[in-house]
Amino acid sequence: MSLKLLLKVWRQSGPADEGHFETYNPDDVNEDMSFLEMLDVVNESLIAEGKEPIAFDHDCREGICGSCGMVINGVPHGPKKLTTTCQLHMRNFKDGDTITVEPWRSTSFPVVKDLVVDRSAFDRIIQAGGYIAAPTGSARDGNEILISKPTADLAFEAAACIGCGACVAACPNGAAQLFTSAKLAHLNLLPQGQPERWSRTVAMVDTMEEYFGSCTNYGECEAACPKGISLDFIAKMNRDYLKAKFRDRRYTHKVDTSDAGG
């Protein structure tokens, strides 16, 4: 069954351009298509007309790589809950719908082109401490560290974050609390993560605050998150940060490792 749609897509040739909406009426849109396949179809006809196709990030198209992401009718990743844009299918829309498509909006996610934004600020947060320092080959047997199933499961739920940035896009404050707290929870919950727990928390939060807004507990991020990351992780991050701040600095200051191994 095919759909007639009115598409309003944000077009922006580059960071300098201030951008505008363009309107398209794709015919032959079919409800078994994914949202990105619908855009592929639009792009094919644009190319046929000699117009530049719409640029958008995508790779796995299976909802796991976190590349895709656009704000569809005012909601990051569109109307279907717990679904990335690439997994959103056209049967979630009705014949005759108007669909507005916009890139993530955040000062720290500058638009590269059309619907493509630069999310490298997320990498910067991970660089600050989003890891467990475990030089290759230094590991002991995996079963020497016992981790209760509930702990492992909770850590996994936090680790399920795909780094798509929808939380920032959804947050009216442009805050990256859900992303950062998910990574912190993943590592701070595990026994392996304890030695660096406090320095990690301080470094990641401080870096986050250099790029993103603060949290006033709107909960929009949780609602938009395709992986259902919970707000409780934000509370956990706040708790860990407060604890870290009331500790002796020697435990909470991150020492520079720039000559590691050298």
């Binding site: 078994d32 299976e62 290759t136 080959g137 590991a139 002991r140 996994f156 590691a260």
Partner: protein
């Protein structure tokens, strides 16, 4: 030139240990004098770059995604194998070694596979210490599941996201080194050529995908970990961006391409729903544990599957393979499904699938159990197909999934071009003609964390106190000029057809003539047709926009141009290999009952192809495979 596989002497159990001892070392204080380029930051490249950085080398890492965390490795679902024998069900390094060689249909190198099995154990420890949240039992111990092609439970997993969790581990280690300054990360950079000077790999040419800058990067060694080429079929379970460009350009600069025709088809994917289809989605193999596969006995049975009585259903796997039934290996299950659909028994609107039915399982175990086991897969299926698999049987069909072939490497993972190393799916090394489930992640991490960091020192040590090659050299100038020339050419053809339309057409040819079953006539047609398509591409492709900005059509154009050339080589390799083995099935070579018929007399070798210039046929070099520890046998699953 002859292929020296550099397999160390001695009993197979000692080869790796001896290598570690005998390989030259680079002292810590000297490591920072070496510049190493790592292209690709998936499991293989990410783990390699992080480890080399940790050791103190100067590393430059490249990926085309906006972050290393998005590499295609992230899509892996099922799990990763390791011979830990935690379940004490008789597993051992030797058994994993044996299973892998057999699974590969006796077309892989014993020494490599044994090393892989040895290292598998360390991988799990390494990943646990990084905080990878593997599934645990209530007692706190690591959990295992069993996977196709093995009778032991040796697969470690993190729900349906093993790949993501392992990649995040490597990615985080990599980001740590980036922060420490030992690794310089170049994301959204695509490698467009390898620079070779007096026979040595000395650097690469890249394009900054954001502003189009063409850059020269030189190094003492270049490491490629750029993944598989499954997208030569256009439709595959690979990520849209997965490509052969890096490997292919290296091939054109002298690196041999080994066994390109070994491609793996995964039996349980969601069938194509229309010609707009952009990729295929894998449904984990584990579904075959509880699902029954069937088609209607009557070709043009228009009824809803639930109305078709048991007696009018053909459970063909159970019929043809009584003992393994629905659990036959990937290649066997795939070909059977193809036969059904080709004979017109296909189901669904397009008659392009077979049923995977959970009705009896639900009746037997109850919906809850099924929901627990496969809930997320069922949701994914419903999301994509719009059908509820609890009520109606799933429709599935095989799809291209993995490529065993790749750039030829010796035991040290160095290609025949000195200074050029190849890791992960991009090399041909360990899986022979067919890969077992949960073994690719293992190989990628073994290569990146453990093998390369040891073996690369042996090569680098020869160049101690030599500065990194100059990027002003003629070789660099020429390579950059070629890249610029090609980029401009795409933009100036101004033809009438989009890049994707060519890629689709190529995919059709590959799938029809070089897919699950191949024959001489078909392959010859394919080679001719792809040749024509290639010419048309260079006449008539339409790439809009310019080269100085973010231009996705331009990126695709380069990749499709390479796929077109690779496609021909794949068919040529398939044509020359007059036998059936693993993922390569030649209809001329099958047992009376339609099983793969190997020819160990004449084809127990690695076919490594050398590029001889545009339009000229590649020349074949053979690396004979010697089997001292497993004896060759015909696989049977009856």
């Amino acid at each position: 030139m002859t292929l020296d596989s550099r397999i160390p002497p001695g009993p197979i159990e000692d080869k790796w240990t001896n290598t570690k001892f005998e390989t030259k070392l680079v002292a810590p204080q000297n490591r920072r004098k070496f510049q190493v380029i790592v292209v690709g930051t998936g499991l293989a490249g990410g783990s390699a770059a992080a480890t080399l950085g940790e050791m103190g080398y100067n590393v430059k890492a490249f990926c085309f995604q906006d972050s290393p965390r998005r590499a295609h490795s992230i899509a892996a679902q099922g799990g990763i194998n390791a011979a830990k024998n935690y379940k004490s069900d008789g597993d051992s390094v030797h058994r994993l070694f044996y299973d892998t060689v057999k699974g590969g249909d006796y077309r892989s190198r014993e020494a490599n596979v044994h090393r892989l099995a040895e290292i598998s154990v360390q991988i799990i420890d390494q990943c646990v210490s990084q905080g990878v949240p593997f599934a645990r039992e209530y007692g706190g111990l690591l959990d295992n599941r069993s996977f196709g092609g093995a009778q032991v439970s040796r697969t470690f997993y993190a729900r349906g996201q093993t790949g993501q969790q392992l990649l995040l581990g490597a990615y985080q280690a990599l980001e740590r080194q980036i922060d420490a300054g030992t690794v310089k990360m170049y994301s959204r950079h695509e490698m467009l050529d390898l620079v070779v000077e007096n026979g040595r790999a000395v650097g690469i040419i890249t394009r900054d995908l954001i502003d189009g800058t063409i850059e020269r990067h030189s190094a003492h060694a270049v490491v490629l970990a750029t993944g598989g080429y499954g997208n030569v079929f256009y439709l595959s379970t690979n990520a849209k961006g997965s490509n052969v460009t890096a490997a292919w350009r290296a091939h054109k600069k002298g690196a041999y391409f080994a066994n390109p025709c070994y491609t793996q088809i995964h039996p349980t994917c969601i069938p194509v729903s229309g010609d707009y289809q952009s990729k295929l989605t894998l449904m984990s193999e584990s579904l075959r544990n509880d699902g029954r596969i069937w088609v209607p006995k009557d070709k043009n049975d228009k009824r809803n599957p639930n109305q078709i009585p048991e007696s009018e259903r053909d459970f063909y796997l159970e019929r043809m393979y009584p003992s393994f039934a629905n659990l036959v290996p990937r290649d066997v299950a795939s070909r059977a499904a193809k036969r059904m659909v080709d004979d017109g028994f296909g189901v669904g609107a397009l008659k392009n699938g077979v049923y995977l039915d959970f009705k009896s399982a639900i009746e037997r175990l109850g919906r809850e159990t099924i929901e627990q086991r496969y809930g997320n897969l069922f949701d994914m299926y419903e999301n994509i197909s719009g059908e509820n698999p609890y009520e109606n049987p799933m429709r599935i069909y095989p799809a291209v999934h993995y490529t065993m072939g790749g750039l030829w490497v010796d035991y040290n993972l160095m290609s025949n071009v000195p200074g050029l190393f190849v890791l992960g799916e991009a090399n041909f090394s360990d899986h022979g003609a067919n890969r077992l489930g949960a073994s690719a992640l293992m190989q990628g991490l073994a290569d990146g964390y453990f093998v390369l960091p040891t073996t690369i020192a042996g090569e680098l040590a020869n160049h101690l106190n030599e500065p990194a090659p100059s990027t002003a050299s003629a070789a660099f100038k020429e390579a950059e000029a070629n890249v610029r020339e090609q980029t401009n050419r795409f933009l100036t053809i101004k033809g009438s057809r989009s890049v994707d339309s060519f890629h689709r057409e190529l995919g059709h040819l590959m799938w029809n003539y070089c897919g699950m079953a191949r024959n001489r006539a078909g392959l010859e047609t394919a080679i001719a047709d792809i040749g024509k398509l290639k010419d048309e591409f260079w006449q008539d492709v339409r790439v809009l926009g310019d080269g100085q900005s973010f231009n996705q059509s331009l990126e695709k154009a380069g990749r499709v141009a390479d796929f077109l050339e690779l496609g021909i080589l794949v068919c040529q390799d398939a044509l020359h290999r007059e036998e059936s083995c693993g993922g390569h099935f030649r209809e001329e070579h099958q047992t009376p009952d339609g099983e793969a018929q190997r020819d160990d007399e004449n084809f127990a070798y690695v076919g490594a192809w050398e590029y001889t210039g545009a339009g000229k046929p590649a020349t074949l070099h053979k690396e004979e495979l010697v089997f001292e520890n497993v004896h060759l046998a015909q696989r049977s699953y009856k």
